[in-house]
């Protein structure tokens, strides 16, 4: 286990230069998420055209992992249909549970978060944006015991 597994260059890069950051002029779906334990907050804005995400932006405060993960998420959602989003969501959840996920290679830099599984306490950070989005896509069917 290396600290670099957590702070992959690409993650730190997304943290320092978050993509799709900042509130857009208009949007179709807005959803807020918080982690009470660390005070992290995130707001996600989705614009949907013909059932396809045309724009996805976010703003918020958080640690390296939660911000980078939100940044990666926005990139991997743009151009996807709502049905596909559900798949991406469940794939990312699986990745963070340490399961094999070949498709994840296709989602922006999502695969970089594989190393986070070695830091169980940080998994929550990596999932903040994704869990938040999940709340806005009611049928996304990822279950938790």
């Amino acid at each position: 286990m290396q600290l670099d597994d957590l702070y992959r260059e690409v993650i730190v890069d997304h943290y320092n230069r978050p993509r799709n950051f900042g509130r857009p002029e208009k949007w179709d779906i807005m959803v807020e998420g918080k982690n009470p334990v660390c005070g992290d907050e995130i707001v996600i804005y989705l614009t949907v055209k013909d059932d396809v995400v045309s724009e996805c932006r976010f703003e918020g405060k958080g640690c390296t992992i939660s911000i980078a993960s939100a940044s990666v998420m926005t990139e991997s959602l743009i151009g996807k249909s709502l049905g596909e989003i559900r798949l991406v969501l469940s794939d990312f959840n699986r990745l963070l549970r340490g399961e094999v996920c070949q498709r994840c290679e296709q989602y922006s830099d999502a695969i970089a978060f594989q190393g986070v599984t070695k830091f169980p306490v940080r998994v929550k950070c990596a999932l903040l944006a994704w869990k938040t989005l999940e709340g806005a896509i009611p049928d996304s069917g990822t279950h938790q015991a």
């Binding site: 600290l3 993650i11 320092n16 660390c38 005070g39």
Partner: protein, 413 residues
């Protein structure tokens, strides 16, 4: 006599076990919980291995022995906090449980609609939520005393808020975020002038400074074993006999009763009235060993060590560029516990990176969310020290903090 942390460390098996990448464990989350010396670990093991039995009921040898040890532990605690009577010591599950006990018994009986409970702005959730719940149940009001700019309790504000409506001042002995130590003597004196009772949340204070319930004349004192070298699952509530006798019981069950009929019951005498069910026998017995260990080090010596660490840490940390420390910047009436943020690195990242240097610090809201808002932050990192911590560890912390930044910078490329 000065403490020798190197030597003390040798009494704690974890430090030998937790060497990582050639680095010794620098354990700085003592505000959350402390490590355990061998005498405490062995006490539980020996008890279970050779003399385990239940307490208070058994006629047979094992039970008589266990009862003897359990009640001797109560005397050890009574002696440690200088209680007038042994029966003023109630064993609970922890400080949280102790405070809830007071809220459910003294609170439900004596604090009604319109009555006021005075708290500081820097209480732990465990000394807020039970009162917020009481507020919901009874319509009592919570009143918060302001802090000074230096993050101490504003005594003038306390004076102005005390009134005949005040039924209780529930206040921390030492803040688990700011390190601030409150002037409990004075608070008790002022509160008693208004016939208000005082509950001291001693979870942080007691392990580091001891406590004298008779000298302060406080009415309730709550603290936890696990924050003072003892096992988890044990806490203490000291309460004055006259109060204990006047309030209703807490949990119902075995041991806390005198007589039970199908349609009613009478309560047992103190302290049993408040100890329903089979207690954490092994935990309590081992906790007494922890107290004896601390007494062996000498409370005065622990206080002196705390002072030394506090002075050194304030000096070394405040001089680090980019650090912000929350809490008093002077060592008087302040414990060796430091909440901080470094540059604009998130506290979780700080904690993760320090962890790689085998330094354990806390990150988050430290169960004091409202205070975080007052401080204007989402979270802080926190380094808290105890008897086995050396001043050198402050230097290690300082150097490693600098690495944090370099690490995250470097990674950007």
């Amino acid at each position: 006599m000065a403490l020798d942390p190197r030597q003390i460390k040798a009494d704690f098996p974890i430090f030998a076990a937790q060497v990582r990448n050639g680095r010794e464990l620098v354990y700085l989350d003592n505000g959350a919980t402390t490590q355990k010396p061998r005498v405490v670990i062995d006490a539980e093991r020996d008890f279970y291995s050779s003399e385990y039995g239940t307490v208070h009921r058994g006629i047979y040898h094992l039970s008589a022995m266990a009862t003897g040890l359990y009640e001797a532990a109560r005397e050890t605690v009574a002696d440690f906090v200088n209680a007038r009577l042994t029966k003023e010591i109630i064993f609970t599950r922890g400080a949280t449980d102790s405070i809830n006990l007071v809220a459910r018994t003294f609170g439900d009986r004596f604090i009604g609609k319109g009555d006021e409970i005075i708290l500081s702005e820097f209480e732990h959730h465990s000394n807020m939520v039970p009162w917020l719940m009481l507020q919901e149940r009874t319509g009592a009001r919570l009143v918060y005393v302001r802090s000074t700019p230096d993050w101490r309790l504003d005594m003038t504000d306390l004076r102005s808020k005390l009134s005949s409506r005040t039924k209780l001042v529930a206040i921390t002995g030492m803040s688990n975020v700011l390190g601030t130590i409150n002037d409990i003597d004075m608070i008790c004196q002022l509160a008693h002038e208004h016939s208000a009772r005082v509950l001291v949340d001693g979870a942080q204070l007691v392990p580091h400074f001891g406590f004298d319930v008779r000298a302060t004349d406080c009415d309730f004192l709550a603290f936890s074993s696990h924050k003072m070298l003892g096992p988890t699952g044990v806490g203490v509530l000291y309460l004055k006999e006259e109060i204990g006798a006047a309030v209703p019981p807490y949990l119902g069950g075995g041991d806390m009763i005198e007589y039970v009929r199908y349609d009613g019951f009478t309560t047992n005498e103190l302290p049993y009235k408040f100890e329903a069910g089979t207690p954490n026998i092994a935990g309590v017995i081992a906790f007494a060993k922890a107290i004896e260990y601390l007494q062996g080090l000498g409370i005065e010596n622990i206080i002196a060590h705390e002072r030394e660490v506090t002075e050194y840490a304030l000096d070394r940390l405040l001089s680090l560029e980019g650090i912000e420390i929350y809490g008093p910047k002077t060592p008087d009436k302040r414990g060796a516990l430091f909440s901080f943020n470094y540059k604009d690195i998130h506290s979780h990242d700080v904690a993760s990176i320090l962890d790689f240097a085998n330094i354990a610090v806390r990150a988050g809201h430290h169960c004091a969310q409202p205070l975080m808002q007052r401080l204007g932050v989402n979270s802080t990192a926190r380094a808290s020290f105890y008897v086995y911590n050396q001043k050198e560890e402050i230097d290690i912390l300082r150097e490693s903090l600098k690495q944090c930044e370099r690490f995250l910078k470097h990674a950007v490329g």
